[in-house]
């Protein structure tokens, strides 16, 4: 049905009215004029109706076209968003999750900027990595290294570390930025992480030997707490979120002095974790840039772990602290000391 068909009835009314006027059916002239005026108004109203209908239809067409365009635009945006999401997911692997998160939530600006903070820093290095893996094919070496770094990174992330960088087989992470639980808890998390890493390394030794490494990997770990400058360093085009300062250098030195599969703590870290971690003071080490030899401590283990193994007896509640290291003191010595304390309590 055409638009004209829609208005066929109105057209017929107009045609009939015009015929009436032309045939001179009105004997009274005034009636004829009135009828002609009415017909003219009716014709105008009819034109207006058709015009408004046409305009309304066209507006609706335009609206539909715009809706279609909008739908297509939304589809393009959705596709682009997916591409960007995939891209950012790829890029995120080059960043520590905390740094990625703080950049993407807008908590941190991507600009050259830094500030000073007290952090706990961790360095680890595989002893004689090059010699140990010298006979491996490139693919095996890649698998071995990636497996090692993946395992260690997973543990780091589980403990809330910010992974600063991998330098070959070496790992540098820190605690306390961009998120911090407080200096003491950050230090404790860091040492717990280091202990967990060494535990996992022991489990992985067998697997690596199967892959062809003649000698199992061994680590040295250094941990230190101190003020560093943390932030974005580099140029506007290429920057790294990292830390710099003498505390960082000292951590690297502590790592190089650590025993095989050992953790060496700086004095400040030790002070923060000594309630939870058994450690033994070592000979102070001389470090470039430090006037005095630096005090350091070898980690023996977590007290909780040592208690489970029967190597220490530890009780701690508010206002009461008891720690007996059975590797350092004979049981009889401990009993005598405790009896003396009980006697004093009974006085």
């Amino acid at each position: 049905m055409s638009t004209d068909d829609l208005f066929a009835a109105e057209e017929q009314v107009i045609a009939a009215a015009q015929e009436l006027l032309e045939n001179g059916r009105f004997h009274d002239k005034a009636d004829g004029t009135l009828y002609a005026d009415l017909l003219k108004d009716y014709q105008k109203l009819f034109r207006t109706t058709r015009r408004l209908m046409r305009l309304s239809d066209r507006n609706e067409q335009q609206l539909n076209a715009l809706t279609q365009e909008q739908r297509l635009a939304n589809e393009i945006i959705a596709t682009k968003n997916k591409e960007l999401e995939a891209l950012s997911k790829k890029l995120s692997k080059y960043l520590s999750p905390q740094i990625y998160h703080s950049i993407f939530t807008g908590a941190q600006n991507v600009e050259i900027d830094s500030n000073r903070k007290k952090l706990t820093i961790f360095f680890s290095d595989v002893i004689n990595f090059t010699e140990t893996t010298d006979k491996l094919e490139s693919e095996d070496l890649t698998n071995l290294l990636n497996r090692y770094l993946t395992e260690m990174s997973n543990i780091a992330l589980e403990h809330g570390a910010t992974i600063d960088k991998y330098i070959g087989d070496a790992i540098m992470v820190f605690f306390g930025d961009p998120e911090s639980k407080g200096v003491k808890e950050d230090a404790r998390d860091c040492v717990r992480m280091a202990v967990a890493m060494l535990r996992r390394m022991r489990e992985l030794h067998a697997e690596w030997q199967e892959l062809g490494a003649e000698k199992p990997f061994h680590l040295r770990i250094g941990i230190n707490t101190g003020y560093v400058t943390v932030g974005n360093f580099g140029s506007e085009d290429r920057m790294d979120y990292t830390i710099i300062g003498s505390a960082v250098n000292l951590t690297a030195r502590l790592q190089s002095y650590a025993n095989i599969d050992g953790i060496l703590l700086g004095h400040e870290t030790y002070s923060l974790v000594k309630d939870e971690i058994a450690a033994e003071e070592q000979e102070p080490i001389k470090v470039k840039g430090f006037a005095e030899p630096v005090r350091c401590y070898k980690v023996l283990g977590l007290y909780d772990d040592l208690a489970d193994e029967g190597m220490v007896i530890r009780e701690e509640t508010d206002g009461f602290k008891f720690l007996l290291d059975l590797q350092k003191r004979e049981r009889s010595e401990a009993i005598a000391a405790l009896e003396a304390i009980i006697a004093r309590l009974r006085e």
Binding site: K44, R47, T48, R51, L52, L55, R58, N59, Q62
Partner: protein, 129 residues
């Protein structure tokens, strides 16, 4: 002398610039007000007051409309009627209907409005640019 009527355009309503002293009146922009009578009511009152006193003077009315909804189209037809009546009563009324060269709807609407004008002189023009 009747005061000028200047209404700034909004996203839904057109700009109204009635310079009665210079007999130059203009409506431009998009028109789909939430309440067409609320918007066009004061415009009609100002126009009626002006046309009542126009006598044999010359007047120019420019329409530069980009989009109209049906209610606005009816309001514009009412403006056209008022202008046509003034022309019938002796005023020299020139109506300029400007349309975007890519907008067939506004061009055809202008043509149809022009067909209704007998005494007022109608001009259909493309918008500049």
């Amino acid at each position: 002398m009747i005061e000028k009527l200047d209404i700034e355009a909004t996203p839904r309503t057109p700009a109204v610039a009635f310079d009665f002293a210079n007999h130059h009146l203009k409506i431009s922009g998009e028109s789909y007000p939430e309440d067409v009578t609320e918007f066009y009511g004061p415009v009609f009152i100002a126009l009626d007051n002006y046309l009542k006193k126009i006598g044999k003077n010359k007047c120019r009315f420019d329409f530069e409309l980009i989009y109209l909804n049906s209610s606005s189209a009816k309001a514009i037809m009412m403006v056209m009627d008022k202008l046509e009546d003034a022309a019938k009563n002796g005023a020299t009324v020139e109506v300029y209907w400007y349309y975007d060269h890519e907008d067939d709807t506004m061009q055809e609407l202008g043509e149809e409005f022009g067909e209704d004008l007998e005494s007022a002189k109608f001009h259909l023009e493309k918008m500049a640019g």
